[in-house]
Amino acid sequence: MRYFLFNKEVYLSEGGTVRLLEKGSDLKSFVGDMDLARACVVDVDIIITAAPENPVEKKDSVLVRKFKQLYQNEAYIIQDEKIDHNLFQVIGIKEQKVREIYSILPPQKLESVVPYGIALRNILIQKKCDLGKPLVFIDDLEKERLITVFDGLKFSRTRIMAKGSESLLPEIKRSVMDFFKKIEEFTSHKIVDYVVMVNDQDLAQEILNDENKLNVHYLDVQYPAIEGLKELSTDISYKLPEEIIKNKRRSVLKKNLTSVLVSLGVIAAGLIYFLFNKGPLCAVSNQGEVISQTNQRLNQELATLDKAIYRDDLKRQKLLNYGVSYLSLLQCIPSSYELSSFKFYKTAYWNFEASFLVNPREYFEPILISGNFKNSQVKDFYMDNRPGKRIKIIYE
């Protein structure tokens, strides 16, 4: 991975060393066969503005409108980051600048392009610098000094000072005042209460000599923005409009493809369930057809057979001689009884029920028939003032 810092000159970090690439040098030759790169851009314009967080389309529209109100002369590519509830930091890089970067570094090799302020803020957070207080960072590069003011997540446009031009202190104060003027409605901090951080020890001492009341700290990182690029934690990355459209198209295509695949999957799941149940239905249906045909054939066979054998079958069922049965029972009945009624009827077997009444002025004698008939019952009964016996015989 290579890291670039784009200002008037370009700083390239590779393999732990940072080189300053002079203007006009063939930058493409430095890119060569590199794998991936990250870049930060110093020249950015920033506004802090309020906008509704939802819906996203409305938020974007408000942020773009407000940014364009301030920077209407040139084409910008803008990105935003949430600072607080309904408060956004809108950062724009001139389209010309982005095109310039992408003309040197091909899009497929450039992982992200971020504002210098974000890269710097990243290293400050990593180094656990207190951003709760306003902080002015002076990045001492080879030929220039970059002054950026931070207030929490908010940061100012970076002021660039050529080395040795004039005293640094007024520039620091001017930067702070400008920044606080811009964000006064969105901050609770006072202008007087700020920290100055420098990445050059001599410069830090020099500032202290000029103004000993200032709270000056030294950060031991030579190229803090480049270091901040190494472990980026932001979604912001600037791309060319056509690249954004291409990515959007790709994303839409991917979404559509996903939808189609999901839809096909859903249909396939339903279809599989249907086929899974339809298969056995066909098998059972065919089996049922065969069984039903067999049933029809057997019924026809039985009908033909029944017509042929019913006479013989009837004969075989006619085993009970009613006359003999009746007379056999009468033989067991004493003469003191007379027959009242009888009935032959069929359940599973033939049943013979007979009722006998005692003749007037005769004894009510016992009737013993169990020896002659296997299944017989004798019960007493009383009818028309006459006692009697009811006998039931079952012919199994």
Binding site: I267, N277, L281, V284, I309, Y322, K343
Partner: protein, 165 residues
């Protein structure tokens, strides 16, 4: 658009799942029917096997068999002086079209006709045993099957079924 596609896919899937459910329910129902049919087939095979040992004979026309039964009864009447009258079980004495009264029997393709014979008067020379014996002989000589014989007070009623095609 994508949501519509997924929604339509879901609808189609739901239709397939519904059809699958229907197919499953139909399969279960058919399976139960098949088991029932199979049991019936087994029963029919047993019945056919048992009946095959019986003697085969040509079936008799039911009207003709009815006339035979009536003739036999008249023969018994003339022979021993008993007076009987025959009617269909529903109480119809002289049916013009007997076939209207045919019923299904336990034999497939064989019809039945329920009749009722009422013995109005028994000859003095006979006792009930002999009359009952005559009915036994009537049953043995024809395709009449006696189902019930009942004697109450002075009447003797015999119910039976004549078989034929």
């Amino acid at each position: 658009m994508n949501k519509t596609i997924i929604f339509l896919a879901l609808l189609i899937s739901i239709v397939f799942i519904h059809l699958g459910h229907c197919a499953k329910a139909r399969t279960d129902s058919l399976q139960a029917e098949n088991v029932q049919f199979q049991k019936d087939n087994d029963r029919l095979r047993d019945v056919i096997m048992n009946k095959q040992s019986l003697m085969k004979a040509s079936p008799v026309d039911l009207v003709k068999e009815y006339m035979i039964v009536i003739n036999q009864i008249r023969l018994v009447e003339s022979y021993n002086g008993t007076i009987m009258h025959v009617q269909l079980e529903e109480g119809i004495k002289n049916a013009d079209n007997l076939s209207k009264h045919f019923i299904e029997t336990e034999y497939k393709g064989v019809k039945g006709l329920n009749i009722q014979i009422t013995v109005d008067q028994i000859a003095k020379s006979l006792d009930l045993g002999e009359i009952l014996n005559d009915f036994y002989l009537l049953e043995m000589n024809t395709d009449l099957k006696i189902l019930e014989i009942q004697k109450q007070a002075n009447s003797l009623i015999v119910k039976g079924k004549i078989y034929g095609i």
